[in-house]
Symmetry: C2
Subunit: 332 residues, 2 copies
């Protein structure tokens, strides 16, 4: 990309500005290597470490390594929940406004018993256990008919919203479907009605053929930097088999997802010196799980730039990197 | 608000979670008072300081104090523009994707000749000159028929996206209208078609009567914390006279806006110890300036919290403060 260009995200219709005057090379995004104190495998003040169970609410589920006493992953209720199971999903009026009870669920997935173990360094078995845990909780939580949407996400580092070192993800369930999700549904519906195809499937096919923005590919997944990436080194991991619902993944897909995720996160970790990032699994809301136009995917967003007033006002992002160069850098 | 509550923003339909377990008191958001080096009135390395004009592109406009040689405000092109006037607004295909040239404008409003002067401490005349400058540039820029939208915004502090101390705002003009803006238009249209009224006018009337979330009010403006504020101490400054277009403000409104803005920013500055913030003027896109259902307003968003994975995935915010308490704290 030699010129100034504005690109449109095919799925969200969001515009992203790529400005030459603001451009930085992939290497410019590397975090300075600071000799940080390496955490040890066990921290007696960490609520997620084995032996400190009294600091946590009771365990919801646990995955164990076969033939061993130790656990691989654990799920507990969030001690400071954003939403709680009390109440219901009824809306009420507050004069001209609308509100509802803070109904929902908020859980924490502890991804390893080891205090100093990150996904970037895990074995495939360990990452596999994390994905299995996401899936088991997802399926279980969506059985409750009031649960309209389940968001599985991971915050890594202070810029991404967490100060806890011990590897963990979170799951939040809501009792309503927000506009943000409906908008994605509507755009996908419009594309489907026009072309008779899932927009994500078309994107997948094109990116796999074009190869310019691909980071890694296996039997079930394609990981690539989107054409209109919002932020530097944004990555989408899309399942090749069309499916709206994360709940529908097969056992072999779970293993392939674990491997893809591990490659992507370890690429970010080693090539950019452990940048802060968020990832989130975007999947169908209740009643949309079988839709032919929706497609679940895992989205990784490194926190290397700051959204400022222009982004707040316009919803347009300014991305100082180039998706094709970001992908080449992560592949290389 | 005693219970967990989820509130809906009447204008954007965005949901915001207010969770008891995550609640903090207004005082908890105060920045620690660090004895920072006070900047001097002139910095020889600052491109915005008088005498350093050679570090900047040529001045576009300047406002002078009557009967004086000095300037009050100055507008220059941004040296690292996100968008530039070259090219046009034609869209082109990149296989399955859509893109366009980086057409637009990107200007900087230098708000004072003094390096250490912030809006929170300015005289009414000085803030008035800033508003006059916004307005003059807005009207001028919207004369060009390709300019579809003008975003006037201010980033204050590193968390808000700027490292420059010298007070300044920015203006970005785009050659397209993004979905973000269309969405606000559609919601307002739907409300108007249902109730025959502007949703912002209804909100204004209710907030002025209710007084619970009001910070300051004068002849032309009401400043309040919105019912479903996205972030702690978010403030909306709404003109009482219905107008979709910032370009239509009168001279007396400009002065009242200056005074309202000054009160709000100096409240934030003194009560929270100079927090980082963004503000943006939300106004009608081209061809929508006369609409009966749209209403321009200035939105201030302090940067006291971090948007994490849940917000990215769901578009729902988690606000650890309570709008009524934030307003009382700023009023008190």
């Amino acid at each position: 990309m030699k010129e100034n260009e504005i690109r449109q995200n095919k799925v969200t219709r969001q515009w992203v500005i790529y400005a030459r005057a603001r451009r930085r090379r992939p290497k410019d995004f590397q975090r300075e290597t600071i000799t940080r104190k390496q955490p040890s495998a066990l921290d007696e003040r960490c609520p997620f470490c084995p032996g400190n169970e009294s600091m946590l609410p009771p365990v919801i589920m646990e995955r164990r390594r076969s033939g061993s006493n130790g656990w691989l992953t654990r799920v507990v209720p969030n001690k400071f929940p954003a939403l709680t199971p009390e109440g219901n999903t009824d809306r009420y009026r507050k004069d001209i406004y609308v509100a509802m009870h803070g109904y929902g669920r908020h859980e924490v997935v502890i991804e390893s018993p080891l205090h100093n173990r990150q996904i970037a360094d895990m074995s495939l078995e360990e990452v596999g256990a994390v994905i299995e845990t996401y899936h088991a909780r997802y399926v279980d939580l969506m059985e409750e008919h009031r649960n309209m949407m389940t968001i599985i996400f991971r915050n890594h580092g202070p810029l991404a919203g967490t100060s806890l070192i011990h590897a963990h993800s979170q799951i939040i369930v809501t009792g309503m479907v927000p506009h943000h999700i409906r908008w994605r549904e509507e755009e996908a519906q419009r594309y489907f009605d026009e072309w008779g195809r899932c927009v994500y499937c078309d994107m997948l096919e094109y990116e796999a053929r074009e190869q310019q923005r691909v980071i890694v590919e296996n039997h079930s997944f394609l990981a690539f930097v989107p054409f209109a990436a919002d932020v530097p080194f944004e990555i989408w991991i899309l399942p090749k088999k069309h499916a709206a619902d994360f709940g529908s993944v097969s056992d072999s897909e779970k293993l392939d997802l674990a491997s893809t995720l591990q490659v992507c996160l370890s690429g970010l970790h080693h090539k950019l010196n452990d940048p802060d990032y968020n990832y989130v699994i975007n999947t169908a809301a209740r009643f949309r799980a079988g839709e032919p136009q929706l497609h679940w995917y895992l989205q990784i967003r490194p926190r290397l730039t700051t959204q400022a007033g222009f982004e707040i006002g316009s919803g347009i992002s300014i991305n100082p990197s180039v998706p094709e160069e970001d992908a080449a850098f992560l592949r290389g």
